[in-house]
């Protein structure tokens, strides 16, 4: 009878490394919910330069306007005026880690969105993909139907908003506080496999803290998932490394 020896192999070499979630504590306190905050912003005067500011945790989240499947326009600054907390979910219906994992096989996104919708939280799902990569009104419509998605699904044509948010994965989650500050950026959960949902829902945890007026403790985690399908006209890489041909 042979004794089976199971050896789990993941990393190169024999050095043992603890699994490291890239959680970075933000030391910046949440600005107080103060009527003066938005007034001061308006008094700042002239707009930024042509290049839109990129998202950064602890700073005002970049504004955008995108249209949902019913033709309604959603503008972040309008939601901030209404003191809404906003969740952005970068989405690809065909990605094993996005649509398939968190809508088809598990109900993470729908359940979390529904749990907080009556508490002043707006959940916006954003699809920035190219037409061929599932980034179309039709594909979004199909996903809405298949998975009974009740929150808005926005089409980010040309991946412009993805660019200002430097969103690289589907899913990538962002939480914007009621005063417009970006307070969370990262993964939805702590299990980066395609099949199982993690023990920690980072978004739900952060929303609880935001709604209680507390600082978000895990403000930045490493997202996982497929790449956001940007349009293929980039050529910023000069060296002899591979470029994704497609």
């Amino acid at each position: 009878m042979t004794r089976k020896v199971l050896v789990s192999v993941l990393m190169a070499g024999t050095l043992a490394f603890g699994a490291a979630a890239l959680a970075q504590n933000t030391t910046k306190d949440q600005p107080k919910k103060d009527a003066h905050t938005t007034k001061v912003d308006k008094d700042h005067g002239h707009d930024h330069a042509a290049e839109p500011k990129k998202a950064k945790v602890g700073e005002k989240a970049p504004d955008f306007t995108l249209t949902d499947l019913d033709g309604k326009k959603w503008t972040l600054s309008e939601l901030t005026k209404q003191r809404k907390v906003v969740v952005l979910e970068w989405f690809n219906p065909d990605c094993p880690y996005s649509g398939v994992k968190h809508y088809k096989n598990h109900q993470t996104m729908n359940e979390t969105a529904n749990a907080y919708k009556d508490r002043g939280v707006i959940w916006l799902t954003i699809n920035s993909g190219t037409d061929q990569a599932g980034g179309s009104k039709e594909r979004n419509e199909q996903a809405r139907k298949d998975w009974s998605i009740k929150h808005p699904i926005l089409l980010d044509e040309g991946a412009k908003v993805a660019q200002t948010y430097t969103s690289k994965n589907t899913p990538t989650m962002y939480i914007i506080g009621a005063d417009g500050t970006l307070v969370y950026w990262g993964a939805i959960d702590n299990d980066k496999s395609a099949d199982t949902v993690g023990t920690v829902n980072y978004v739900a945890k952060a929303l609880d803290q935001v709604l209680a007026g507390e600082t978000v403790t895990d403000a930045q985690t490493k997202p996982y998932g497929c790449s956001v399908k940007y349009p293929k006209n980039d050529s910023d890489s000069k060296d002899t490394e591979k470029k994704n041909r497609k």
Binding site: L10, A19, W147, S227, V228
Partner: protein, 310 residues
């Protein structure tokens, strides 16, 4: 509903109105694997009491890739669980250096294309019985991507006979894959110390390799994270300057590639001048403490800064 209630729901696996999920990772019906795995052996039989090299090799369709266990933006590395007979043990698992793959949106991944072989050392027990047939197997899961990504799962097996003690078995037809892989498996840290110098200048790690015409750093997934791996992880010339984001206790861990001109290209005649010199690469494991640990010795008051020497 609170966060804790949501977690309970997720753990209970309640899935309303959908087909019950498979217990396997999602396996869409997209035809055969694009990265096809095999377990292979360098030699045609096992020798009692000796170390044998087997390989986990993938043949990857054009346009597709698998991932190294790096700090890339997307992807999942290969995961392998080995099942060996009694007395056999797995020693080292050595993955070759990957390549950088840049996708639109400044997305950087560390991937394998065309073909990759991980080298695995197996210790054969002294009392292995000559003439026995031994079965080695592995349960694998990985992610293969082109434009789309498909998570995959497979079991692979290798059967090998046990030769007499002291035998020198012939190489198999797969032996060339081992030589190919060895060229890109990083050399140990100690060898690197002769090829390059690495020192902290504030939050920046400066790598200098005299004679190099290019240097590339491939960070492991557990490494201290880089600020801008895309632009700072690769440079022409003999110096690499990389900024890292501070994180207590984390080490810089990964592979350093040093590119040098191939001496053989000097044999060209005047009429065969080429615009591109041939390069050869050397690969070294880089494993060193983060910047705080390397703080200059005057800092004796802060116990956190007293780290053992590297």
């Amino acid at each position: 509903m609170t966060y804790s209630a949501l977690i309970l729901t997720a753990l209970a696996g309640a899935i309303a109105g959908q087909a019950a999920p498979s217990s396997l990772p999602n396996q869409p019906d997209k035809g055969s694997f694009h990265a096809k795995p095999r377990l292979i052996s360098e030699r045609s039989s096992l020798v009692p009491g000796e170390t044998a090299w087997i390989g986990l090799t993938f043949d990857i369709d054009p346009g597709w890739h698998t991932y190294w266990d790096g700090a890339g933006d997307t992807g999942q590395p290969v995961n392998a669980k080995f099942t060996l007979p009694e007395g056999y043990t797995v020693g080292e698992i050595l993955w070759p250096t990957p390549e950088r793959l840049v996708s639109p949106g400044e997305i950087l991944d560390y991937v394998y294309e065309k073909r990759v072989t991980a080298l695995i050392s197996i210790t054969v027990p002294m009392n292995a019985k000559t003439g026995d047939d031994i079965s080695l197997s592995a349960n694998l899961w990985w992610l293969e991507c082109e434009d789309i990504c498909i998570p995959r799962k497979a079991d692979v097996t290798l059967s090998l006979p046990v030769a007499a003690a002291g035998a020198t078995p012939d190489p198999t037809k797969d032996a060339p894959r081992f030589d190919e892989a060895r060229k890109r498996v990083p050399r140990p840290v100690a060898e690197g110390k002769k090829a390059y110098r690495a020192e902290w200048v504030g939050d920046r790690l400066r790598i200098q390799a005299p004679g190099a015409v290019g240097i590339v750093f491939y960070p492991h997934v557990t490494s201290l994270p880089m600020s801008d791996a895309l632009h700072e992880g690769m440079r022409k010339g003999d110096q690499l300057d990389m900024e890292f984001r501070p994180r207590d206790g984390a080490r810089v861990l990964g592979i350093l590639e040093v590119r040098r001109p191939d001496d053989r290209s000097k044999e060209e005649t005047d009429t065969e001048r080429t615009t591109r010199a041939r390069l050869i690469s050397e690969f070294y494991t880089l494993d060193m403490p983060g910047p705080a640990a390397a703080a200059p010795p005057g800092n004796t008051k802060d116990p956190r800064k007293q780290q053992p020497g590297n």
